[in-house]
């Protein structure tokens, strides 16, 4: 999770921020956010673009939709909504990555298996 105080990325189960020692307990609702403070919520736009452009995956486009929602909701001050959209963006980035990588890995495995098989039969 990101530190509310300095924005450093910490482990999700970390108790204190490794940089500024801020307590990272999840805030119930929005009461814990001081007025005027702009918490940073990751929108995963880079991952969305990377999966769209390098994984050849249309699901990356869905992640871009949620990334846009994150920034729009943050600008409007809707922190909880932005967190929700952020989670969705992350999920769709993973979906796009898996759908892009898994067929490729299966293909490589098949090529490997058939390559070894044809080499083996050619020896006879």
């Amino acid at each position: 999770m990101y530190c509310r105080n300095c924005g450093t990325l910490n482990d999700d189960n970390a108790y204190r921020c490794t940089r500024c020692q801020e307590v990272l307990q999840p805030v119930a609702g929005e009461q814990g956010v001081p007025p005027g403070f702009q918490p940073e919520v990751p929108n995963y736009l880079v991952y969305a673009i990377l999966t769209t452009i390098f994984c050849c995956m249309p699901f990356g486009v869905v992640a871009i939709v949620y990334a846009a929602q994150v920034n729009g909701l943050l600008t409007g001050g809707n922190y909880a909504g932005a967190l929700h959209a952020s989670g969705k963006a992350r999920t769709w980035c993973w979906v796009a990555l898996f759908c892009g990588l898994v067929p490729g890995l299966i293909w490589l495995l098949m090529v490997g298996v058939f390559g070894v098989f044809s080499w083996h039969t050619s020896l006879r």
């Binding site: 490794t18 940089r19 020692q21 880079v46 769209t52 995956m57 846009a68």
Partner: protein, 141 residues
């Protein structure tokens, strides 16, 4: 300072080292092996199943040309990918430095309308590069 405070820092450096190594390895593979023509790369599942050029079609071939310094050839294969490289590089480097504790490069939150415009651009690009008419087929790889 908590006793376990040092451990995440080590993990953060290991993570950074992993990503730098990963990018370097991918770069070396792409530099040596041209994805155009018969190669060791798996085929794109989207192109294989649908025959369509998605917004990412030609990215690996364009990356190969970029690594060899052939900017025009890369633009001919996937112009959107080439244009996105500076943004992606800046965000990745800035995010990486920030996670290691240096906030030298500012984090800029893009206005939502910019991301919506980007979405529209990508969708339009997707449609246009599949139309096999003279000025538009330049967008296809």
């Amino acid at each position: 300072m908590l006793p376990s405070a040092g451990r995440p820092a080590v993990r953060r450096w290991l993570r950074a080292a992993f990503w730098i190594g990963f990018v370097l390895a991918c770069g070396c593979l792409l530099y040596v092996a041209d994805p155009a023509g018969p190669s060791c790369y798996p085929p794109c599942p989207v192109h294989y199943l649908t025959g369509l050029h998605c917004p990412g079609c030609g990215s690996l071939r364009a990356a190969h040309q970029l690594l060899h310094g052939h900017l025009v050839a890369a633009l001919g294969l996937n112009p959107l990918m080439v244009l996105s490289v500076p943004f992606l590089a800046y965000t990745c480097v800035a995010g990486g430095l920030r996670s290691l504790g240096w906030s030298a490069l500012p984090r800029r939150r893009l206005p939502a309308w910019m991301i919506w415009s980007l979405l529209g651009l990508i969708l339009a690009y997707w449609v246009l590069r599949n139309i096999p008419v003279s000025p538009l087929n330049a967008l296809a790889p």
